[in-house]
Structure formats: structure tokens, C-alpha cells
């Protein structure tokens, strides 16, 4: 049976609630309505209002309350209706949750789920990939699954993790990705990248929805005799440097691909690590394919021009392969 990305996350959450009575959900419209994207549909019916809490529109209070509840031994899973609105909870996440363990040895085992990304005509306030804001804050873990299998395994790992995890779910993948996933209970380790496709000539380092763009391009260039390896980071923090460097040493050519805008994006960090630690293996410049430095536009032709896609990647792959 095929499982979609959204079903996979839902299954993971419900299984964890079943397994651990300390796990509970809080967020806007997550109970009766099942969440803006229906990720938590059915949770209220199954676990009741004690464990599935519809909150006021108060992102800072949602995350703050999750932190406070975690101090008392609970394992809250907070939903942001859109990743964009996480900025309203920014202080709680970056100034408090991230620093408690370091400051005063108080673990904060919370998960903040953030539906992110473009391609759904959401415009500037409902489309951002803002993972870099959090990757820059030590103390947080930043997770972005690209597949249904990983989405389930990683949400379960995130709920069991004893550090605060920001879990970015790509909205465009919720119902687009359907695949066979292992039955029942499994986790995917946080901090481990996956080789999404094994290749020889050129490495694409990417994550989240862009993994699928890379896969599309890999099919196309395979017919031209170019073999792409795709590294799906899955987690930005902790960053699986070893897997990236290993792939780079093998192929000697790298493109970093992400949907987020370029300047200050996580891609810059990846490029820096590669040039610092595998420079002598490189046979060409390390390139980036990202969105341009603009807000995410609404109108379809503008949004299409904004988002990295197969055509944009393809051009860079051909150029670098020939380098």
C-alpha cells in the first residue's frame, strides 16, 4: 500500500502518542479541524481534548507552553500553521528553547512542526523555506524530510529526541509523494544524510522538496551519460558532514541545491565545508542552485521563476559536468 508524505507524518505522530502518554499536541485548529493541512486529522477523536489542544492564535504562547510542559516531563509536539508564522515564536525558540540545556542543564524535548515551502501559490507569507534562521542557532536540531519513509521515521525520532527539534514539512510534498514505507514502528536517525541516488560523476547536495527536482534531473542526464549522486541531508543540524565529503571525494564535482533564497542560506555553509575539507578533490567550482534573494511571489509565472526547478538545475549540471 502506498503512503503519502502527510499520512506518514500523521502515522508517526499517532504511533508516538500511542506509545508514550506524555506526548501531546498543541496548535491552532489541529483538533476539531485536524490542522490546516490535516496532518493531525483523527488525533482528537482518538486521544481526546486533553492530548490534542486547540490553542488561541498565539505562536509564542504555543511554543512557550510547549517548553514549559517539557520541563514538567511531557513531550509536546507544537504545530505552526505555516512555517512563516514561526517568526511570532522566534524568541521562545532561539533565545529560550535553544539555550536551556547549555545555560542551566534543562533539556527541552519539544518538536515544533512547520509546514514550509513554495509551489502552492501561497505568496510571500505562506511559502517560505526559513530553515537557515534556525540552523544558525546552536542548541536546535533542524530536520527536513523529503520522502514519506523519512517523514515518518524522522517525526518519531524527533518526538523521542531530548533536544528541541524544528521539523520542516514541505507543503508541496504532503499529497504529491506516495511510496511504500516499512510497516509499523521505525525511526530514522536525526543527523544522518541519505544517498538518495548513487552516482559517479557529480554530486547534488540537497534536502526537502528539492530532492525530487534533483531526482528528475538525474533521470534526464543519465540518458546523456552523466551519472548524478544525490545526497539528501534530511537534517541540517546536526550536519552529516562525513556523508557529504565522502560523496564529494568520489565525484569531485558538486552542486548544492536548495529552495531557500541564496544569501545566508544553508547552502553557503555546505560550500564552505566542502572547500575547507575536500578542496584537493574538487575538479570544478562548487555551485549553488537556489531561489533568488526576493520574497516568494504569488503569481504563477513569478513563482515559477523564483523556485529552483529541473531546468535551472539541468543547465548547471551540464555546465559543471563539462568543466
Amino acid at each position: 500500500m502506498l503512503t503519502s508524505y502527510v499520512e506518514a507524518i500523521r502515522e508517526g505522530i499517532l504511533e508516538e502518542m500511542e506509545r508514550d502518554p506524555n506526548v501531546f499536541l498543541l496548535g491552532e485548529d489541529i483538533g476539531v479541524y485536524g490542522g490546516a493541512f490535516k496532518v493531525t486529522a483523527g488525533a482528537l477523536e482518538r486521544f481526546g481534548a486533553r492530548r490534542v489542544i486547540d490553542t488561541p492564535i498565539s505562536e509564542s504562547a504555543i511554543v512557550g507552553a510547549a517548553i514549559g510542559a517539557s520541563f514538567m516531563g511531557l513531550r509536546p509536539v507544537a504545530e505552526m500553521q505555516f512555517a512563516d508564522f514561526i517568526s511570532c515564536a522566534f524568541d521562545q525558540i532561539v533565545n529560550f528553547a535553544a539555550k536551556c540545556r547549555y545555560r542551566w542543564n534543562a533539556p527541552v524535548p519539544i518538536v515544533v512542526r512547520a509546514p514550509c515551502g513554495g509551489g502552492i501559490h501561497g505568496g510571500p507569507f505562506h511559502s517560505q523555506q526559513n530553515e537557515a534562521w534556525f540552523a544558525h542557532t546552536p542548541g536546535l536540531k533542524v530536520v527536513l524530510p523529503a520522502t514519506a519513509r523519512d517523514a515518518k521515521g524522522l517525526i518519531k525520532a524527533a518526538i523521542r529526541d531530548n533536544d528541541p527539534v524544528i521539523f520542516f514539512e514541505h507543503k508541496a510534498l504532503y499529497r504529491k509523494i506516495k511510496e511504500e514505507i516499512p510497516p509499523g514502528d521505525y525511526t530514522v536517525p536525526i543527523g544522518k544524510a541519505a544517498i538518495h541516488r548513487v552516482g559517479r560523476d557529480l554530486t547534488i547536495v540537497t534536502y526537502s522538496a528539492m530532492v525530487h527536482v534533483a531526482a528528475q534531473v538525474a533521470e534526464i542526464v543519465a540518458r546523456e551519460g552523466i551519472s548524478l549522486e544525490i545526497v539528501d541531508l534530511r537534517t541540517l543540524v546536526p550536519f552529516d558532514e562525513a556523508t557529504v565529503l565522502e560523496s564529494v571525494r568520489k565525484t569531485s564535482k558538486v552542486i548544492v541545491l536548495h529552495e531557500a533564497t541564496m544569501t545566508g542560506g544553508f547552502g553557503g555553509e555546505i560550500v564552505a565545508r566542502i572547500t575547507e575539507k575536500a578542496f584537493e578533490y574538487l575538479d570544478g567550482p562548487v555551485l549553488r542552485v537556489t531561489a533568488p534573494d526576493t520574497p516568494v511571489p504569488y503569481s504563477p509565472p513569478l513563482e515559477a521563476a523564483f523556485l529552483p526547478d529541473a531546468d535551472k538545475l539541468l543547465a548547471k549540471v551540464r555546465w559543471l559536468a563539462a568543466y
Binding site: P56, G64, G68, A69, P76, Q92, R103
Partner: protein, 337 residues
Amino acid sequence: MPVAKPEPARKNAFQSTDAELSRKFLYYMALMREVEERIERRLYRQGKVLGGVYVGRGQEAIPVGSGLAARPDDIFFPSHRDLALYFIRGVTPKQVFAQYMGRRDGLTQGRDGNMHMGDLSKGLVAIISAMAASVPVAAGAAMALKYQGKDSVVFVYFGDGATSRGDWHEGINLATVQKAPLVLVCNNNQYAYSTPLDKQMACANVADRAPGYGMPAEIVDGNDVWAIYEAAKRAAAHARAGLGPYLIECKTFRMTGHSAHDPADYVPKDLFQKWSQRCPIQQLEKRMLDNSWASRQEIDALHQQIKQEVDQAIEQAEQSPYPDPSELLLRVYENEA
């Protein structure tokens, strides 16, 4: 000669008589005053304490009255002017001095400074530096206690200025909707840093905001430890009974600058003058003497004992080593020692 008859000794919830409880009040208030006096006016000026120093001079009745009204299983979220809460929970003066000096024996082992410290095993949540950010966190802790079927309550502390922040409003709104067992203790000391109350808010009292959240509130004399104690008992009983949050506004005055570097030139001198007549410690002592709960000698002996305790604590704290730079990278995440 007729002798003033003492008020009959009542038994309070913790089985101590009024006299015993008064002595406890006095001990913690005087200890807080003495420790903060040394930190603000000696160690800071000697360069032994670096960075920001915020004290609660003149406000000691607030953490002490409410802190002793709480049960040992209740949770505290202290503000930066509530040092006594730490002592009530068993943190020692030595640990506090070591914390202020950035030493390893400080509660955060040098990771953070001054009153930015906590210990979950003692029900003390470290202050969140962004004003009022602790309110939603406290709301969540209170929701968790209810979730777990416990009848403990959460006490969260803040100043008048903090009530201007969105987090204060978001946190209280969530807590009231959820009927979370939360006691909100405001120290209205009439200034937020240099900003007087009338530039902070257009209503007369912080308590005036409570009806907007469907929450009871009361205004108490913030320099009367007994009044605060009684109010905190009422508030905790309300929260414990499942009726939701309860706000106590303690009217008081900050008898110093915002922090040790601040001479508070912006405060009219006569205000300091006026409020110095209402020192919470002196008022308590007068009441103890009037009721024959203690003699002058006993009170003096207590102050003497505290001074010695504090001298010793400073000496011990100064012997505590600094953290080693090799510890810098540890414990950002779990399993990093």
C-alpha cells in the same frame, strides 16, 4: 504594669505559628537584602562581579511572602528581583555568589550570569531574559501539571514593564482558556528601567488588565509581607481548585537603579525618601516587636547571624574555580557531556 498582649498564635497551613512564620519571613528578606547589598555595592564595585546586576532592594516582601505561601511541590519562575525564591528552595548564598562571579560552583557553572539561573530539581525555572517570555512557558508548565493530574501550581513573577509585551498577554490568554493553575505575581515598582508607569501603560493598575482575560486579580501592599502571603494563599487556592489563573499586583518601589551601573537620576528624590519610610523589613520587624513575636535582641542576633553566613559564603565562592575553557563546547546538545 500592663503588658501588651500578643495576638493569639494562629496555626497556618504549615503548622508554624505567626511568630515562627514571621521569623522565617525576616530571615529570607534580610538574607536577600544582605546578599544583594554585597553583590551590588561591594563585589560589583570591586570588579569581582562583572556584567549586569539587578536587585530587589525594597521588594523583598514579594518573593518571600509568596514563596513561603507556596507548597514545596509548586514551581517558581522568578523574575530578576526575586532572589529570595532561590534561598527558599535551598539554593545557598555560596552558590549565588559563585554564580555572580562566573565560577564553577554557580548554579549554571559559569554558563550564564547573575540571577539567570535555575534548577528544575528544586522547581526553579531559570529566568528568560526577554521580559514576559516566562509567562507562556509558565502557562505550559501549569497546563502540564493539570495534564498529569497533580494539584501543584506555578508561580510566575514579572515587573510592571513586562506586562507591555505580547508574550504576557498571549501567555495569560492561553492559561485562562486552559484554566491552568497559574499564579501571576507582578512587582509593580513603578519603573521599568528608566520608564515610569505612565509611559508604560494607560491604565492605572496592572490588575485592571485582568478582567479582559476573565481572571481575578487583587492589589496588595507590596511592602507588607503578611499581606502578600495571605494574597498568595488565596491565589494558590484558587488555582489549585481548578479555577484557573489569578493575578496579584504588589505595589512597591525599586529602591535602587535598574541595575548596578544605573544611578537612577531620573527618579525624583522625594520618591526614594517616601518609600524608604516603608521598608518591608523594618515594617515586619515593627510588627514582630508590637506582637511580641520576637525581641529586639533576637532580631539583632538574626541579622548578625546572616552577616556571618554571607561573609562565609563570599569567602567560599571566591575559592571556587573558574570553569575551564575546554568546557566551552560541551552540552549544547544531549550526549555532549
